[in-house]
Subunit: 439 residues, 2 copies
Amino acid sequence: MTEAETFDVIVVGAGVLGVATAYYIQKNSPDKDVLLLDRYLAPGQANTAMSAAAVRNMFASSTNQLLTDTTIKYVEHVQEGLGRELLFEKTGYLWLLSERQFSNGSAQLWMHRMDASGINYRVYEKEELTQMVPGLNMDFVGDEEAELMHLEQASYGLYGGDCGVLDPTRLVEYYYEEFKSLSSVRPRFGVEVERLILEADPKLDLPGEPFVWQEKRVTGVQTDRGELRARDAVVLATGAWSNALLDPIGIDSQTKGKKRQLFVVHASDKPALNELLFTDGFNSLGCIPFTILPSAGVYFRPQLQEKGFWIGCGDKLGRAFKYVQTDDDLVPESAYYENSVYPVLSKYFPAFEDVRPVNSWAGGYCYSPDAIPFVYFDHGVLVVNGASGSGIMKSDALGRIADALFRGEEYAELYGGRKIKADALSIKHRDVEVESVVI
Amino acid sequence: MTEAETFDVIVVGAGVLGVATAYYIQKNSPDKDVLLLDRYLAPGQANTAMSAAAVRNMFASSTNQLLTDTTIKYVEHVQEGLGRELLFEKTGYLWLLSERQFSNGSAQLWMHRMDASGINYRVYEKEELTQMVPGLNMDFVGDEEAELMHLEQASYGLYGGDCGVLDPTRLVEYYYEEFKSLSSVRPRFGVEVERLILEADPKLDLPGEPFVWQEKRVTGVQTDRGELRARDAVVLATGAWSNALLDPIGIDSQTKGKKRQLFVVHASDKPALNELLFTDGFNSLGCIPFTILPSAGVYFRPQLQEKGFWIGCGDKLGRAFKYVQTDDDLVPESAYYENSVYPVLSKYFPAFEDVRPVNSWAGGYCYSPDAIPFVYFDHGVLVVNGASGSGIMKSDALGRIADALFRGEEYAELYGGRKIKADALSIKHRDVEVESVVI
């Protein structure tokens, strides 16, 4: 029997959280052999590539505010300071809220917490909003359809000026190339990790180990191309697939997968839609911000490169949770657009009427119960997951936190020098506020 | 097409939590049609029957203290006051702790909280413990095996005098018969619930409903014998099977299954074991209490009816979590007893040396992350689960809380008049202390 290949660290998953983590671990421990693995054939090809890739610091929990604010500033630094084009565009975020939504306690707390953290945002009241967004239908009075659909009329807009959109693949490539320039180990793709290897520590070489009275540690991974061993850590940045690896060894990741879909419409040959896209006055790009409607979780992202919109929906009750992501989570449903998304979208923004998607895709969202990511390092396995649809906008912070845990630091220093307890996002010592502002 | 049968309430699962809930709902809403369903052929035949059925109020969280303390007092009332034999025996609980375990903060907090709640317990120090339990090996000094196994020498015993054991089947039968005496609907067995029926509310009778913009409600269950409709609520008391019904409609139950096993040994023809079983001085039965060893989660329950012991182990890392309970969770593993449990057990209690189990079984434990049960009523489905191995000892309280939620009460009144917020165990408004004392 040949000896299994051994590394110091094996990072499973080359999505944005995996590459950011691999990069920071390698950067701060230059002597360590860090192997990056992915089942796909290139980095960032799975759920990272399926994301709406919008970034915002407009969260209600100070934890999410910190994770996103520092990541966005780092993204800006990479693009402006280091000159690496990430297609990061400060379109802003525009949350449309009804009278009821705006005045309820949860929105008030959200604004209060943004004020306290100095998050750059402002409130547009009805009149101003009407003028700013002529394409927005703000009058549902007497509209029986809108009433039947329980749609609440938009009365306020919360605009976040430091928010925007970026190209997730470019961000992944940035971390990936930086990682490769530091690492002596060639990343491997097309490798499927089948299970974590949990062993007794120390091993007694008895058949049937590990026994219940032994200490245990994850010492490697079984892949479809053989066993790989890790001296210090196996990093799992496996998002909506995490349960399949963690449950069998008795670690409850508390996350679940959920399918999310995006639908692309083009505006160039549709004057009303083109006008909506180039709604001026919010940002220096002269475009409509990333916009969240008051009802049903429907949102759209302006897409300047292809002159159009990406349209999505954060559906809740009625959309299955998945134990692990399945292949059908990658198949978008045209009926879902037509019956669930389109009627809402076109009611608020009539410019979308009769417009049909030219493209669509779907991916797996890795949900955590409090909508705050998990980062923990127990028994040899370092888990970074549960970003709840906001992994890209938290990637830099999460990579640094994972690295701090790896190095046994008490605090992680995020971009700009702000600090967070390295175990604040762990399961055992979790110290976060539940996030209430999720799409 | 014939109309589906319709009830006011459908209770899925006739384990101890299902029958207790059905009983309290029916008792307090006598005009409601309450249908009790189970996939097995009689009540209490699944995981309830597989339990060690030990009951204790020795918890660290005030929530679990309240749930168990009131349930134990009710059990006592049923047996002593109503004259229904439940084989409830106050054997007491004896937690053996090492010096290190006793002095660490978590044990100190546990005792402090039991003091604060007036839980009846006492501490035996080393010398006393030696005299009380002559069968306990308290000296591991120089024992290389014990050292290799990381076994910590017992130095303290925490004894809870109101704790004990009971016959879970008799407790289920009690609630079941009481329920039947009140209900006009005959319970149904051998019926498998395949899925929850989630519908738009109100329905528009459009194909593809429910859409994302519609309100939704669980209105019934699809079973292998057809559809059944519930006007007011579908109660899920489905323990380790809950995810299979809740995930598909987009409710994350946060629970998982875990296999647990019990091994039976007989003492009557083994003098040393017989002596251990009849260790006098703790209780009026003259038997050794339900005893938890300091290491590896191993415990035993005295079984006076068959003059023997039930031996179990709360294994953690290395024992898989299950998304839903599978059939192999019902198969005990003899190698597990021999290699994991026996070496620990016989080291602390040499009387078990060379004794082999005469019987064994396994079942599914329904784990919740904070080791506190869940009770919540959302969108037409009332969930009672996540009892984390202590459903029997919390059954009366959980049944009353579920009924209070069903009736829209703000508080549930537990046995003896103590109250708890009806939504304190919910996911959304959870108001509990994380439990630290789990086996």
